[in-house]
């Protein structure tokens, strides 16, 4: 058995009890190991010694509850702020919608561009006018989603504040 093995066995004996004769003999016969073993025993004894551990106090409980309340208030404020920002974005978006630049009709496209449009009569029996009727949805859907999300956050914040 070498020194490291003997000292590992010694350390294991602190946790599990019982040191093998071989390890004990090695530690006793090896000068370096006996010095390290004495220090390890001392460290183990120092760690195992009972120590006055502070007790929990009512003031500490109050501190924790105050922190929790502060965090809840902050989260509520953040939710309300997020809802307000999203709502404002939605309102702004809706008010700007009629002013969005771009071709208002396929008829506004240059002639060459219109010629290059594929023939979609199979999938759009109503003709290209059907696409035109869908164009505003590209703006409205995200705006409606933003409004919905804003409302959802506001309701969640209101529920939390009532809880």
């Amino acid at each position: 058995m070498n020194c490291e093995e003997a000292l590992d066995r010694l350390q294991e004996s602190f946790d599990t009890g019982g040191l093998s004769g071989e390890a004990r003999d090695h530690v006793a016969s090896c000068q370096a190991c006996s010095v390290r073993a004495a220090r390890l025993r001392e460290a183990h004894a120092a760690l195992a010694a009972p120590e006055a551990v502070p007790s929990w106090t009512a003031a500490l409980t109050r501190g924790v509850l105050l922190r929790l309340e502060r965090d809840t208030r902050r989260a509520r404020r953040l939710s309300l702020a997020a809802a307000a920002v999203l709502g404002l974005a939605a309102v702004l978006g809706l008010s700007l919608l009629p002013e969005v630049p771009g071709p208002s009709s396929l008829a506004d496209l240059p002639e060459r561009a219109r010629e290059n449009l594929p023939d979609l009569s199979d999938v759009l029996p109503g003709g290209l006018g059907e696409i035109e009727s869908l164009l505003p949805l590209g703006f409205l859907v995200p705006l409606l989603l933003a409004l919905f999300e804003g409302l959802r956050l506001a309701v969640a914040a209101a529920r939390r504040s009532n809880a």
Binding site: D8, T16, H44, L47, S55, W56, L60, T61, V64, L68
Partner: protein, 192 residues
């Protein structure tokens, strides 16, 4: 640890954010969390700050607690991991704090001797020894401190330590042995 776990109704109310129920849980488990934090920091004020922070995180994590599982083991595991996480994350800050504490201790050493300590040299020696152990523990890396605290404060064996910290058995033994070696070396230095 506390004598018993908070009852199911208190836990349910706490999960819904009831202030009284939260307070009751903190009161019930306060000594355990503070004791563990103290064993890992060996500094009263640091342990109190740490324990409060751990409770705030524990209470936030409460909605994720599965009521079908026993509460105390859950709390012990979360508290241990949170203390370890906070110590690791705040490692640099804490090292600075330790250095400043040590500077204070050294400054205190240059003050005129305490008459009570002079009258009772054995008491003074024991106090000095305890302080040396505290300093030595504070110098250990957080992962080793956690093992030492759980081993000596909660009396956990190798298998339990491995389970609690989700570590292989060999790593647990290795960290514990290295922690003791470091402490032994530090205490040996103090003696000289």
């Amino acid at each position: 640890m506390a004598d018993g776990a908070p009852d199911r109704e208190v836990l349910e109310r706490a999960r819904r954010g009831d202030r009284r129920a939260l307070g009751a849980i903190v009161e019930t488990c306060g000594d355990f969390v503070l004791g563990l934090a103290f064993r890992m920091t060996r500094d009263r004020s640091g342990a109190e700050d740490l324990a409060q922070e751990v409770f705030v995180r524990l209470m936030r994590a409460l909605p994720r607690y599965d009521p079908g599982r026993p509460f105390l083991p859950w709390l012990r595991t979360v508290a241990t991991n949170q203390i370890l996480h906070l110590l690791t994350r705040g490692g640099e800050k804490e090292r600075r704090r330790t250095a400043s504490l040590e500077a204070c201790a050294e400054a205190a050493g240059s003050l005129p001797p305490d008459p009570a300590a002079e009258a009772a040299p054995a008491v003074a020696e024991a106090r000095e020894r305890a302080e040396a152990v505290r300093r030595a523990v504070r110098r250990l890396p957080p992962d080793q401190r956690a093992i030492v605290a759980l081993r000596y404060f909660r009396g956990l064996g190798y298998e339990e330590l491995a389970r609690e910290l989700s570590l292989p058995l060999g790593t647990v033994k290795n960290r514990l042995f290295r922690a003791r070696e470091a402490l032994a070396a530090e205490l040996g230095e103090t003696k000289r």
